[in-house]
């Protein structure tokens, strides 16, 4: 009865406090939309400059996905483009490609490493392309086979593993060592005489190619950055806002003197805590339905599992956040102290919740945070269609955290009234 009175009161207060309601429901939607556009709007295009590159080289590089190659007249021009940030790396092969008399062709690559992963990708790409080219640099014609070498398996008849049994002993894996382990383009140029790449493919049909078939686990293809971070960030945002709103509400109860009035009635301490959980729990049900449906249907985050489980985990996590928020607000002396808990208690959870690939030790450390379990369960459901059998540990741990926080809170309320 009294528990229900608290819950009803919280719902009524919330209905009059549009701003707080917006903080709990609209703000997470806005944030997730923002996150969506940040990840989806990421420019994956790698811009590379080239000076004096032969046509085959340009074609080979441009055939890669998300790469644009700009040719420059001189190295100085390319350097200027790199300085301006127009390209993350450039290659200068003007000297080598034109000078057929040079035995060992050389290329010069300049990389702006501060461009991050794009620079790394560009370096790798240019390096392998240049090495491939280098193998055939002496003979202009030899360039062709080496750039085609990726297609080798496809062009040759009967190169499939399935066919090996009938005639070609050389196609067995152990035999490949004698032929050309690196027959596929990348290493070709490294030390081999320039003539062999073309010959290889003719004389030794195919000994070293596999018929590769790829399957996608749980049918997940086209996994975007938003899919990667969306579920975890959503968990964090829900956790954060529920923590904040519930913690502040409980703090306000104390500051406004209403807690004193409340404890002058024959209410039990646990009834206060349970009432808050019931009231805010009801609000978080609405909140989690709206947020989850929004990011799944409107933002189109990966969703292979059941919505029911997603809602269950969101709700459990929200209850955990609100019991933690109440506990800390009971412990806090002021709104400002409550704010101080955010960098200490809330933000670190984000770092350990699976957004980053952490070492074993840090992963274990992350186990002390509720959000880790919520994010883990969320990924299991949304990526792999996990059921209760896959995530029961997360469910139990989240419930355990909630119970622990609530129990501590009931104890801590003794500060205000012993009985």
């Amino acid at each position: 009865m009294r528990v229900r009175a608290f819950a009803l009161r919280i719902l009524r207060q919330m209905s009059h406090d549009k701003r707080t309601l917006a903080l709990m429901i609209v703000a997470p939607l806005l944030l997730m939309t923002l996150v969506y556009y940040i990840f989806e709007g990421t420019n994956d295009e790698i811009s590379i400059g080239a000076v004096g590159a032969p046509q085959q080289f340009i074609e080979a590089v441009e055939s890669e996905n998300d790469v644009t190659l700009t040719t420059y007249e001189s190295r100085a021009d390319a350097q200027q483009a790199l300085t301006d940030g127009a390209v993350v790396a450039y290659i200068d092969i003007a000297l080598t490609a034109d000078d057929a008399e040079l035995e060992a062709p050389r290329a010069y690559i300049m990389v702006d490493a501060a461009a991050g992963s794009k620079a790394q990708a560009a370096e790798k790409l240019l390096r392998s392309a240049a090495e491939t080219m280098g193998g055939g640099a002496g003979l202009p014609s030899a360039i062709q086979p080496s750039s085609n070498s990726l297609d080798m398996g496809g062009n040759q008849p009967s190169s499939n593993l399935a066919d090996t049994s009938d005639s070609q002993p050389s196609s067995n894996l152990p035999d490949t060592s004698d032929s050309r382990p690196s027959g596929n383009s990348l290493d070709m140029g490294s030390g081999q005489p320039s003539s062999n790449s073309l010959d290889t493919s003719k004389n030794q049909p195919s000994s070293n190619s596999f018929d590769v078939s790829v399957d996608y686990y749980k049918g997940i293809k086209n996994f975007t950055s938003f899919d990667m971070f969306g579920p975890t960030l959503m968990s964090f945002i829900v956790f954060f806002f529920v923590f904040l709103v519930a913690g502040m509400a409980f703090l306000k109860e104390r500051k406004s003197g209403t807690l004193e009035k409340v404890i002058s009635t024959p209410v039990r301490r646990w009834e206060i805590v349970a009432g808050y959980i019931l009231g805010f729990g009801a609000i978080t049900i609405v909140q989690s339905v709206i947020i989850n449906v929004y990011i799944i249907t409107v933002l189109g985050v990966i969703m292979n599992g059941s919505l029911g489980y997603v809602l269950l985990i969101t709700l459990l996590e929200a209850i955990c956040a609100l019991s933690l928020g109440m506990l800390l607000s009971t412990a806090a002396g002021s709104e400002f102290q409550m704010m101080q808990f955010i960098p200490i208690i809330i933000l670190p959870q984000l770092f350990f919740s699976g957004l980053f690939d952490l070492s074993e030790g840090w992963l274990i450390f992350g186990r002390i945070f509720p959000l880790t379990y919520a994010a883990e369960a969320m990924n299991k459901i949304m990526y792999y269609d996990g059921g209760i059998g896959d995530m029961w540990i997360d469910v139990v741990v989240l419930l355990g955290f909630s119970a622990l926080f609530a129990a501590l809170n009931v104890l801590l309320l003794k500060r205000y009234r012993r009985i």
Binding site: H16, S256, K261, V262, S264, T265, P266, I419
Partner: protein
Amino acid sequence: MEAIELRNISITLGKVRILTDVDLSVRAGTVCGLLGPSGAGKTTAVKIACGILEADSGEAYVLGTKMPSLDGMRNVGYMAQEDALYADLTGRQNLEFFGQLQGVTKSTLAGRVDRALELVDLTADAGKLTSKFSGGMRRRLALAAAMLHEPPVLILDEPTVGIDPLLRKNIWDGLYAVARSGTGILITTHVMDEAEKCDRLVLMRNGRVIGEGSPAELKERAGKQTIEEVFLELSEHTAETKGGEAE
């Protein structure tokens, strides 16, 4: 039976001694005024009476039940010095919440709320958010919240601050009506002329009781015309004896 009884209460909060050997009793069916200047310890004394605070030594009873206890609290209606109201609820919703906490049953709640609103003349404003209430209206609503469950013991901390004189008279009439039906009322005040309206007075200064009796008795004993003069006389007296003790 005594509605409220404090026996030999002493309490220290933080490092400050707030109350020293306070004895106080309120008979059922009477209005007892706890009179003293700000800082005398009135609020601490009433909080101990209603079970929010516990004394370091001494005992507190409500209708014979030792406080703090949930059973005792059921019998008390407490109005705090600050208006303990939820600004984002309407007047009626505030009363409904506190009524439910006090255990008023669903069937009687609406009627009790109506009656309490009527007593404090807020029936017309019951649907407004209390954030829109004036200071006096909030005070009246807080009073209504204390009386809602019709408890046999009322503890009111400065209930009439900021309420206009006509309404104040109505409230006092209302309180007397409640008292005559058997309720024991303990009311703190620092307004001397309000003290005159009480059946009995307990005068406090610096955490000690410096005098008690009906207003008429107190005036007669001290040979003074007003309670204010009585208070000054008793204050000087205790200051002297205290000074004497120190020597």
